[in-house]
Amino acid sequence: MPRDAILVLEDGSVYQGYGFGAEGRAWGEVVFNTAMTGYQEMLTDPSYAGQIVVPTYPLIGNYGVNREDFESRRIQVSGFVVREECAAPSHWQSTGTVAEFLASQGIPGIAGVDTRAITRRLRLAGVMMGTITCDETAEQALARLRELPRYDSFDFVRQVSTEMPYTWSDNGPTRPSGAVSQKTMPPLSVSERGLRGEGPAPHIVALDCGLKFNILRSLRRLGCSVTAVPAATSAEDIFALKPDGVVLSPGPGDPALLGYVTETTRALVGKLPVMGICLGHQMLAWAFGGRTYKLKFGHRGANHPVKDLATGLVYITAQNHGYAVDADSLPPGVEVSHLNLNDGTVEGLRHQELPIISIQYHSEASPGPWDNMYLFERFVEMVRGNDV
């Protein structure tokens, strides 16, 4: 028999369900994601560290869990909340269920809950702390929740970043090892094939604040040699690797807490072409002297429309962020290149003189639409010294 469990939010709302995955309690900031596929990528996305994730799509686990769809070496969410978990997945790649996957890594989940009700609550009241529990009353859980530290007070980046630098080959990370491969990638477009053939392979260093493997796969596929380094790596150590360009990765938490990354970024700017993705984009804003602020319930999904202000074109993007760059805080010379069509928030920056681009969304997709892979091409062109 499944064990009864509840999700309690800090405003006192309680949602009934049953426990799945690991036994025990989970706590964290409760956020929702509206993507309809890609739960394994979500679970392993380091940007979800410290968060309990609620997919709004009700049927989770239908195609199981496989060896290919890892975005990092482990599950990163602190808890998982679903309407229905699939006990008998069906897919040629599947090696197990979501429940088994969660249990194997000690992550508690709750199933059978009214996830739409939770989403509506978060939309109205904003994201908040919550806990999954199966051995307390709602009152006890709420009392415990009030004693726990808040999401915003943590530096999750140190927790998720790699301890050692590693390079990325066509078969995945060379060190540290992990059961991942890079088989499942979008097919190469004609222009990408062309790019791959030209000249010596550019060397890209990715500052791992919570890297997703698909960023490395995408760069590798464009013919780059790729090295991932810990978030706390100094600019000097990065220069010592003789990179042709640097990617500032996505990652979890409040960018205001990451002074050390800001400092590194500031030292890189002007010396090397830089591409910032998500948290990396926010770090660039900080490095330029800008500021970020917390969104009410963030952007998490695979359907957010973003307008490229240079062309007027609209792109459907994968998103996962709770903070945004304040456009008014940016200095002259740094311009907003992309805007979110839903709420007008900043989605991308461009330096008027320096080879620096940044996006708030996820060009590496995974999960989500592949429409923005061209940004990696643009960056590689920039690294090669071509005018973009």
């Binding site: 949602y15 009934q16 929702f32 509206t34 993507a35 309809m36 596929t37 890609g38 394994q40 990528e41 709004t56 799509y57 009700p58 049927l59 239908n62 195609y63 496989n66 290919e68 769809d69 309407r83 229905e84 699939c86 008998a88 997945p89 069906s90 897919h91 040629w92 790649q93 809950v113 009214d114 996830t115 739409r116 009700a117 989403t119 509506r120 939309r123 499942t184 979008p186 097919p187 004609v190 319930f297 999904g301 695979a302 359907n303 957010h304 429309p305 307008k307 007027g312 074109l313 609209v314 459907i316 069509l341 839903n342 997709a365 995974s366 999960p367 989500g368 639409p369 592949w370 429409d371």
Partner: protein, 1106 residues
């Protein structure tokens, strides 16, 4: 896009009559498009031949033409209206074909009309198999390899290149027969030889077999600036091999990983860009199946992913809004047609607001937080002798959709929505009893879903079933979850937790009752006392990420209810469910108008319906929409949810309107009334009195209105006695059915025995009516009755004599062939019947006029206390808004206060002709002859100032005109020959070439006509009748039949061949006579005018009609 690109006037082409494969979804699309263009300040001109559409109503487009969809007619409209743009992409394939024809005829260039939506070149490419294949290969998208060959050697060569397994499809064979699958070289030789022999032009197509692969569709949009989005994807539960229109479909896809989802999404965007479409597009893919399917024993075992060069193939592209677009719109809330029209008007996706959230824009992709299941509705309840197998030719007339938070519940609600009796997933065919699962009919056919569930129930393993059916294991696992709950309900004590679990899996009270040994009403009471009640959640396009304004809801068993009862007075409009023969789009038309009329009358309209194709289920038609099955449980749950606590003491549920949803809604009157819930308009008792034969007979006898003699019987002996007393022929039918199901004209006791048995099977336990068959003139009226007065907008006279179902008859307004005295009697009878019954609202009465010398007797055949399928036609022909008036009356107004005279309305100076349209080419094995059982799927309207012109246009619009130069094939029953001769003579006098079968040819020769004889003996020499039909020699067929259903074999093949070659086949001499009259007198000067002008009266140079 700059404003200069915005056309100031646009011509929108509708899709014409409802046929299989092109149904109500295009009324929905066209209506949205016209509204959307008008919002942009664009003058819209609409042309459609189908009167039963909302799009052809005044107020939707600026100018409405109800005219045949031909190049000639549309050229005249263009010449007159001078539109800047032509929008053909919302009118189905009909619209696209017309656009190409107009361009090729030079009309678009001549009048400088810009084609909007899809470029001409793309339409042409999409229609040409080879061009299209090349286009996809050029952009690197995989297509299944194929070749068209005419010899065995060519076939072998192609097969060596493509590789086995292959599908072989012969060209132009009856029912597409003669082809097949080849998995070995021996099989291949055999199948190709058979196919070449079967094809009259000795041609077959050999193609890579993807049978058993997953079939996945994407709905994509692109604007003029090049922005692309996907609205939704859908996965067919039936794998490749079954037409997507005949597949059970789920949205979004359930078994695709994110990588697969995105791979196909990216391919879709690439394709719509390459095609240059500005608007919507539907793309279908085959995706490699699960290994247990690939390694299973499905006939023509599919190739594994390793066997082919690509994990997916592009199967089909529809460069326009399609049936799937309508489904995707309803499944997501994203209004595809509306957005497509705005794009055609020059807007970009980022400039179009999301009408659902009213906060975000059309440039986004809907996120679903529920599961949607669509099930097709097939017409085999009406055509039990039809071929029930399904395959690549679509056969469904309609579909249902259901939404819930679990797949199981969405599936079970969709099954409830089908309205096949009260059939739930528990149903099993009697023939399956005791059979092991391996022997169940698991191949694709209309009842496969039940057979597969039955196999699960018998313990079939998921692997074995997947291997056998090609259905992905995930879906079979879900069927297993349903069967598991059945077992629990059978074996365990019913507890609140178990009941709640069952409801979350979509079990109806009726199913729970059957399994847990309780009455459905007891289950309902248990639910109430245990608090196991449904909540309603919103379809908002965004998974609750944004606050949405749409009032579009579905039921589910969850924690939070989002639909608080509406404030103020409201009424529930009960819809008509899936489109089926006998209950078509006409009823949806009435539902939409009743929702609007309620709003005009100051009430809020609440709509409930299960049909995704319709305007009634559009999010802005009513104040609130519940997408739910139309059965007692869901209607009562909705009424409970809408019970307004603010009014008076206690709950006050809104009244229900049951008059507009066909038999579906009428059948709910009694359960609603028994539950103590109010009904607006005619009461349940009034409805019962009109429908119950005994009560109705007594009532009519009291009034003194004549009725054909007859009686209700319950067994064969009684039937034989009654028939003996009345004298043959007699009309036999079950009571309480719509569309003349199982109704027949019977000529002798043997036939009677057979049909009484059949009728008893169609409606078990219900009485069977045996009436004297009167072969007179059939006349029909629709009327509004306020209890004291009636308003009859007009009288409709049928061209075919009584005995042909009214839905299949050609009807003419304003009843030109009737005498003044006859008209007076019709009006008097209608008033007596309506007021006597106490009808409040709409009624439809069918009469037969028998003329003997000077005297005519008018018999009443039936009174339907509800709207009929002629309501849209008569409303359009007379300009009288019947539905609105009846809502006013139902709300308590008097007809006299509504500004319309009572009695028969003033006759319009026009003639309107309604001609039925059939879909017989799609339904293998179904006999096409006209009889008392309805067979048509749609209708067209021809309107003009004189009968000949109106009739000619209507026949033309229905593709029922005689070909101008012939020849016609005649095969006429002996008893019809004397009557047929004068008609044929008229035709022959013009030199029209005649072909005839043996007996008919002899009779015509004897009458001095020149005729070529063709044998109907299929085994004696060629060419026989079938050959000359299939090879295109014959332009039309006249074939009358002698009697009942079984002895029809010799004419059957002729009629089927005509159906499949899509040439007119007249099985009733009255229709043939009208077609001859219209051919011989077809005036070149037929009018092409907006409906409004016809209604304004005839121009001076026309004589008054009649």
């Amino acid at each position: 896009m700059c404003a200069a690109n915005k056309p100031s006037k646009v011509l929108v082409i509708g899709s014409g009559p409802i046929i299989i494969g092109q149904a109500a979804e295009f009324d929905y699309a066209g209506t949205q498009a016209c509204k959307s263009l008008r919002e942009e300040g664009i003058t819209t001109v609409l042309v459609n031949s189908n009167p039963a559409t909302i799009m052809t109503d005044e107020g939707i487009a600026d100018v409405v033409y109800i005219e045949p969809l031909t190049v000639e007619v549309i050229s005249r409209i263009i010449e007159r209206e001078r539109p800047e743009g032509l929008l053909p992409t919302l009118g189905g394939q009909t619209g696209l074909n017309l656009a190409v024809a107009l361009a090729e005829a030079g009309v678009l260039d001549k009048y400088n009309v810009r084609l909007l939506g899809t470029p001409l070149d793309t339409i042409r490419k999409a229609e040409d198999r080879e061009l299209f294949k090349q286009l996809l290969l050029d952009i690197g998208e995989p297509v299944p390899d194929s070749a068209t060959v005419t010899t065995q050697e060519e076939a072998r060569e192609a097969a060596r290149r493509i590789g086995l397994p292959l599908v072989v499809r012969p060209a132009y064979t009856l029912g597409g027969t003669g082809g097949g699958l080849a998995t070995t070289w021996e099989e291949f030789e055999e199948v190709v030889a058979g196919g070449l022999a079967a094809s009259p032009i000795h041609q077959v197509l050999v193609e890579t077999s993807l049978v058993g692969w997953k079939e996945v569709e994407y709905e994509v949009m692109r604007d003029g600036a090049g922005n692309c989005i996907t609205v939704c994807n859908m996965e067919n539960i039936d794998p490749m091999g079954v037409h997507t229109g005949d597949s059970i479909v789920v949205a979004p896809s359930q078994t695709l990983s994110d990588k697969e989802y995105q791979m196909l999404r990216s391919a879709s965007l690439k394709i719509i860009r390459a095609l240059g479409i500005e608007g919507g597009c539907n793309i279908q893919f085959g995706l490699a199946p699960h290994p247990v399917v690939a390694n299973g024993d499905l006939p023509g075992r599919p190739v594994t992913r390793d066997g082919l060069s690509s994990p997916y193939y592009v199967i089909e592209v529809n460069p326009r809004v399609s049936r799937s677009s309508a489904l995707a719109s309803k499944a997501t809330g994203y209004p595809i047609a509306r957005v497509a029209a705005k794009i055609a008007a020059g807007k970009t996706l980022a400039e179009i607001p999301n009408a659902v959230t009213r906060k975000t824009l059309a440039a986004f992709e809907p996120a679903l937080d529920y599961c949607v299941v669509k099930i097709p509705r097939w017409p085999f309840d009406k055509f039990p002798y039809g071929d029930r197998q399904i395959g690549t030719q679509m056969k469904a007339t309609g579909e249902v959709m259901a939404i819930d938070r679990s797949f199981e519940a969405a599936l079970q609600k969709a099954v409830r929505s089908l309205e096949i009796g009260k059939r739930s997933l528990l149903w099993e065919d009697a023939a399956w009893t005791g059979k092991p699962w391996e022997d169940l009919p698991l191949h694709p056919h209309d009842q496969r879903l039940w057979a597969v569930v039955a196999a699960v129930r018998r313990g079939a393993s998921i692997e074995a079933l997947a291997g056998r059916t090609g259905i992905d294991p995930w879906f079979l696992m879900k069927f297993g979850s349903i069967v598991g709950m059945e077992r629990r309900l059978l074996g365990e004590t019913l507890t609140p937790a178990l009941l709640r679990q069952a409801k979350r899996l979509g079990f109806s009270d009726e199913q729970v009752g059957t399994l847990a040994d309780r009455l459905p009403e007891q289950v309902r009471q248990l639910r109430r006392s245990w608090g196991v009640l449904p909540v309603y959640k919103m379809v908002d396009t965004c998974a609750a990420e944004f606050d949405a304004a749409t009032p579009y809801f579905y039921s589910t068993y969850e924690q939070e209810n989002e639909a608080a009862a509406l404030d103020g007075p409201s009424a529930l409009v009960i819809g008509s469910g899936p489109i089926r023969i006998g209950q078509g789009i006409e009823f949806d038309y009435c539902n939409v108008h009743s929702a609007w009329a309620l709003q005009k009358a100051g009430m809020k309209s609440i709509m409930v319906n299960s049909n995704p194709e319709t305007v009634s289920t559009d999010f802005d038609t009513s104040d609130r929409l519940y997408f739910e099955p139309l059965d007692e449980e869901s209607v009562r749950d909705i009424l409970d949810n809408e019970a307004n606590h603010g009014v008076g003491n206690g709950d006050c549920p809104p009244p229900s309107i049951v008059q507009f949803g066909g038999q579906t809604a009428i059948n709910l009157a009694v359960p609603i009334a028994q539950a103590g819930l109010p009904i607006m308009g005619s009461s349940a008792d009034v409805i019962d009195q009109a429908s119950d034969r005994r009560r109705f007979d007594d009532f009519v006898a009291r009034l003194g209105v004549p009725q054909p003699p007859g009686a209700a019987v319950t067994n064969v002996e009684q039937a034989l006695q009654v028939a003996e007393r009345l004298g043959y022929p007699v009309l036999v039918r079950p009571s309480y059915v719509l569309g003349g199901r199982a109704m027949e004209i019977v000529h002798d006791p043997d036939e009677l025995r057979r049909f009484v048995a059949l009728a008893a099977e169609a409606a078990p336990g219900k009485p069977i009516l045996v009436d004297k068959y009167l072969e007179g003139k059939e006349v029909e009226v629709d009327a509004v009755c306020d209890g004291e007065e009636v308003l009859i907008p007009g009288i409709m006279e049928h061209i075919e004599r009584a005995g042909v179902h009214s839905g299949d008859s050609v009807a003419v307004y304003p009843g030109l062939g009737l005498t003044e005295a006859e008209v007076d009697t019709l009006v008097t009878h209608t008033k007596q019947l309506g007021c006597g019954l106490g009808i409040r609202g709409l009624m439809n009465v069918q009469f037969i006029i028998m003329r003997e010398q000077e005297k005519s007797t008018i018999y009443v055949l039936e009174v339907n206390p509800r709207s009929s399928r002629t309501v849209p036609f008569i409303s359009k022909a007379t300009g009288i808004p019947l539905v609105r008036l009846s809502i006013e009356v139902m709300a308590g107004k008097r007809l006299r206060d509504l500004g319309y005279a009572v009695g028969l309305a003033h006759r319009q100076k026009l003639v309107a002709v309604k001609v039925p349209v059939f879909s017989m080419s799609k339904l293998r094995g179904v006999d096409t002859y006209l009889g008392p059982e309805m067979k048509s799927t749609g209708e067209v309207m021809g309107i003009d100032y004189a009968l000949d012109a109106a009739l000619a246009k209507a026949l033309r619009a229905a593709d029922l005109s005689l070909p101008p130069k012939g020849p016609v094939l005649l095969s006429i029953a002996d008893r019809d020959k004397p009557e047929a001769l004068p008609i044929i003579k008229r035709l022959a006098r013009t030199g029209y070439p005649l072909l005839a079968t043996e007996g008919t040819a002899a009779a015509l020769s004897a009458a001095g006509l020149s005729v070529r004889m063709v044998t109907k003996k299929l085994s004696e020499g060629r060419p026989n009748v079938i050959d000359i039909i299939m090879d295109g020699t014959v332009g039309a067929v006249v074939n009358t039949v002698t009697g009942g259903r079984v002895p029809l074999q010799d004419g059957f093949e002729i009629r089927r061949a005509a159906a499949e070659r899509r040439i007119p086949c007249y099985s009733c001499l009255d229709t043939f006579r009208a077609a001859v009259q219209s051919l011989l007198r077809e005036a070149r000067d037929y009018s092409v005018r907006p409906l409004r002008e016809y209604l304004a009266g005839a121009p001076a140079h026309y004589h008054q009609a009649g």
